[in-house]
Amino acid sequence: MIAALSSEWLKIRTTRTIFWLLFALAAIVTLFTVAGILTNNKESLTGASNQLDLIGIGVLSVLIALIMGLIVSTGEFRHGTITPTLLSTPSRPLVVISKAIAAVLLGVTLVAFAEVLVIAEMAALLPLRGIDFTLQGGDVARLLIRILAASAIWAGIGSALGLAFRNQIGTFVGCFAWLFFAEPLVQGILGSHWINSDAGRFLPLSSTGSIFNSANDNSANDMLSPWAGAATLSGWMLLATIVALVLLSRRDVS
């Protein structure tokens, strides 16, 4: 297990893709943080809760984590490296699991990178506008844990979907079509007055939203609690992993 995981992690580290994604993440996060600090008025930047909103931009790493998870596993089929991978690790369940764990670790790394960057930029730029950096450790930790959880789970989902569906472009298009079109549509249909069901809360994107739901207002809307959201999203990851396990184990690799 350790050998397979260490090999997967080395795979991630030894192509340039990860560095391009880190660069893209840094660029987007910096753009939003710097623009937020320079363009907002002083009042809306003062105080812990406003500053916490700024850190929230790190949530972008959830998307990058999904993309990286997809690339890590579909790349094996795109470049034909699945053959040497299965020759060095013939147990297919072990390949699925070590890839999922490597993707989760990657998700965590991406968030850590993005958030360290945002906080450093805030600490450097806020005093320039004469604003005190007043973030509370506890609030920051709570938000970071939520972003970490969501990114890690989405990276795992990406890795499993990639192994299950193999085709890089197809899986990318499918994932984004689900997130931006299909899920809102299904959500709308389920919530419409004909069906009037709140089952939409359990869909992947909605449960991700629930992870960021602040504890006070979950009764006021129809979202799950953050814990339930994380558990539901983990369930989706588990499902995707099982599908990947079954499909990869049955398939011929030729």
Partner: protein, 294 residues
């Protein structure tokens, strides 16, 4: 060391491997031959646990590949030149495999030197020529210092110097007591490398034996040229020999030089050339695979 028995694999309506059985002993280099689509690659992939067979067994050292204790260190395989991430450096490609396959990391530099790639180790594989990729594939097969090597078309993309290198390399590996199963369509190369050949066609075993044994089963040919070529051709055909043109000369199948010479002398034909043509593995191959197709 390698044992295939009653192996069967169906893809839709096509029977890719049909009740195939043969074995490879240690210290032997065995050529695995057949026309395109004969089922060679499918057989090798089943042997390596990548493709699931519908029936039969394909074992290495008495076990399925995935049940071996340290498969990567017991069996080395070269399957295709495309199994590389183009953005990864060659040395890193090998490090990735060494880690997963429990091969010591120091082997990475050793095998790079063994295949003559130490100078290009830090280049990204995307910039490699086909021949360099083939050497890298061979390096990855040798990482675990395995006792069994399974090579699918390892000569593909190698230049003549590379092919000669491969030949010597495989012989040296076999002399160390390893079993080598090598598929190839470059028959002349295989002929100089292998101890025995397994020939398959349409998924079925056609022949298995040493090259010499198989050659004995194929009729010899004689090359003959004469200024009275047309008349000679008619006489030979009348005598029941199969005659074909080879430039200005004639190729007579199923005849010895003595038979052709005597026949020519009887009709007082002038001969400019009368040469027995050495039987090549290619001749054996075509005869066996085309017979099967008839």
């Amino acid at each position: 060391m390698i044992e295939i028995s009653g192996l069967r694999k169906r893809y839709g309506k096509t029977l890719a491997v049909d009740d195939l059985s043969f074995a490879v002993e240690p210290g032997r280099v065995v050529g695995f031959l057949g026309p395109n689509g004969a089922g060679k690659t499918t057989t090798l992939r089943i042997l390596l646990g990548l493709v699931h067979a519908n029936a039969g067994q394909a074992t290495i050292l008495g076990k399925n590949y995935s049940q071996l204790e340290r498969p990567f260190c017991q069996v080395g395989a070269v399957l295709e030149a495309s199994g590389f991430h183009p953005g990864r450096k060659a040395r890193n490609h090998l490090r990735v495999l060494a880690r997963a396959g429990h091969a010591p990391e120091k082997r990475v530099d050793e095998v790079l030197a063994q295949v003559g790639l130490e100078g290009a180790a830090k280049k990204r594989v995307g910039g490699y020529s086909l021949g360099m990729r083939q050497r890298l594939a061979l390096a990855s097969a040798l990482l675990g210092d395995p006792g069994v090597l399974i090579l699918d078309e390892p000569a593909n993309g190698l230049d003549p110097e590379g092919i000669r290198w491969l030949r010597d390399f495989l012989r040296a590996l076999a002399e160390e007591g390893r079993a080598v199963l090598i598929s190839s369509h470059v028959l002349a190369e295989v002929e100089q490398t292998v101890d025995e050949v397994v020939i398959i066609n349409k998924g079925k075993l056609v022949a298995h034996g040493s090259v010499e044994e198989l050659k004995r089963g194929v009729d010899g040919r004689v090359r003959v040229s004469s200024p009275q070529g047309k008349e000679l051709e008619q006489e030979l055909a009348k005598a029941g020999f199969e005659v074909s043109k080879d430039g200005d000369a004639l190729l007579v199948a199923g005849a010895t030089s003595a038979q052709v010479g005597e026949l020519a002398a009887k009709s007082s034909f002038v001969l400019h050339e009368l040469t027995p043509v050495a039987t090549q593995l290619e001749d054996v191959f075509f005869e066996l695979t085309s017979e099967e197709q008839k």
